[in-house]
Symmetry: C2
Subunit: 337 residues, 2 copies
């Protein structure tokens, strides 16, 4: 049990290596500040040649995993398991997206924290000697997510400034026992944190307490300070959630403003792209991670980062029944190697 | 990598032990053939004193995990992780059910195969030295599931004889490194199998090919015959799916009629309870496992079984968009010890 550290963390004896990452996004994401980093950008925002948004999202996952397999230099049959998730009811984007790979799969749901969950469980599988190669993949789609959680796009409903814009895209990683220039050294598993917020159009506020909880616990468990990380990167808190996170962390005695970065803030230019508080969706953290963050770790520009995708655990049923929107955050320690 | 066997299976070097199991069910399940085995039976079918079916389902998970913790003789804080899932969109029954435990969690979605997935990932966590104690829990609820997948109950729609009846209930297990009289010796991770069936009221037929695929692969990977298991127990194929499974297995050269049992067939008396093809839902396999199957393994009545919860990967969106209903089955090898 020497891998167990503190209350919620694992320090892997044999770190899983990240062999490759690949991302495909929609046109709007391609037009944003990270546009040049993505492997593939759709010509239009929505359908990618499919007949529904859901089918389009499935195809994004398929493309992302296919590209990641190719980049890792392995064959499809070498992949032992896929850990996959998305935001849709019954995670249909994942099921229909990856069933063509003919690979054993575990379906996950952690809302927008799912890429953190997928990387955590993938790392546990590889480090535990259960698989030589596994894939972690998540996706989201603006059209399918608005329909799933809010209103069909055709309604043209207005969005408050605290709202985020669901990223259309999918990011996938291949993990293996050796190779690559980045490794998953440890994880901190997140708890569900509920501050009682009920505003599904201010998810940054709903998720910030969970982000704080997981980041704080990570620092405690590994006995680290924020400066022990080159970056502490949340998934999709956006501008509103980021301010709350800073305040909550300060209450616990930590200033993370220098290290903090948020995938949702990086992916769009909110001044010119009308995306309000930032990007969101479990594709947001995934595509930003594989395209922008991972290469910096691989090059050694960043030696160690804490990647903390955050999720808002609501459904349209729970929202309509007047329930709060609890948050969760899954943290992954990634190091250059 | 000596734990990896064959194409899709793991034989654990350090098997995770099942320390306890607990189940709570609704009145109809309590009136069925397995009634006397459950830990707790609701006085009525639906609300359990709550204001919505979803909230009721959440409470079932909470109760099941609480009872399992107590039976295992551990304290809540010793639980390192909970692997939880349910059938509802965004798995809200799990999120709201277990957030009160203040325990790190991983949310899962594998439709009615989720208890197999939860036991598999829990076993990987314990066997890998990542946690001394973990919980695996799933639930389903007739009212919330009919609303989620088909029609609100108030519509009073008719059900064909191939339809199954979603079990109202939740089952939870505590796994640990030692203790107990049952252990998870190995697993076979399931692939998504799609025969193109589109009938959401005949899910047994949709899932049978996946069950066959995983059971066959388990026999191949571990080099076993059906008689090497005292029972091969699927989750909720029901009477229609069972017949298809027998036929498909025979095509592959195996007769499993003697060993086979299906939780969906066991849990209701279809002649008197008007449940048609049998029970279903990810609570079905869970409550039958912890209440009826696990005690027989603990007593040594069964030395080794293959537990294979099966899932139908559809949503009401995928169904309405004309998609097929692919299946998945997650197999767990459980032995007396």
């Amino acid at each position: 049990m020497e891998q167990i550290v503190g209350k919620q963390s694992i320090q892997f004896q044999q770190a899983a290596h990240i062999l490759s990452g690949a991302a495909i996004v929609g046109k709007k994401e391609g037009d944003g500040p990270l546009g040049k980093y993505f492997d593939k950008i759709g010509e239009e925002e929505g359908l990618f040649g499919c007949t529904s948004w859901e089918e389009a999202e499935s195809n994004l996952q398929k493309e992302a995993v296919s590209m990641a397999i190719e980049k890792a230099g392995i064959e499809k049959w070498q992949l032992r398991m896929i850990y996959a998730g998305d935001l849709l009811a019954q995670t249909i984007a994942s099921s229909f997206g990856i069933m063509g790979f003919d690979t054993p799969i575990y379906g996950l749901y952690g809302a927008c924290s799912t890429m953190g969950e997928a990387l955590s469980l993938s790392a546990m599988a590889v480090s535990g000697g259960y698989a030589p190669y596994v894939a972690a993949v998540t996706s989201s789609h603006f059209g399918s997510a608005e329909k799933e959680f809010r209103f069909p796009l055709g309604y043209g409903n207005q969005r408050p400034l605290s709202a985020t814009w669901t990223v259309t895209g999918s990011g996938a990683c291949i993990l293996g026992t050796k190779g690559g220039k980045a490794r998953i050294a440890g994880i901190t598993t997140g708890k569900i944190v509920d501050y009682g917020f009920k505003d599904s159009l201010n998810m940054g506020a709903c998720m910030a307490p969970a982000a704080c909880d997981t980041i704080y616990q990570n620092l405690m468990d590994f006995n680290r300070l924020p400066e022990d990380y080159d970056r502490i990167i949340t998934g999709d808190l956006g501008e509103v959630g980021q301010r709350i996170l800073f305040d909550l962390m300060k209450e616990k005695g930590f200033d993370i403003e220098k290290q903090h970065m948020d995938c949702g803030i990086e992916i769009f230019d909110s001044n010119t792209q009308d995306t309000h508080a930032g990007g969101s969706g479990c594709g947001c953290a995934a595509v930003t991670f594989v395209s922008y963050i991972l290469p910096k770790i691989e090059k050694g520009e960043w030696k160690r980062i804490l990647f903390v995708p955050t999720g808002a655990l609501l459904s349209k049923v729970s929202f309509n029944e007047g329930k709060s929107v609890p948050g969760i955050a899954q943290a992954v320690v990634i190091e250059h190697c």
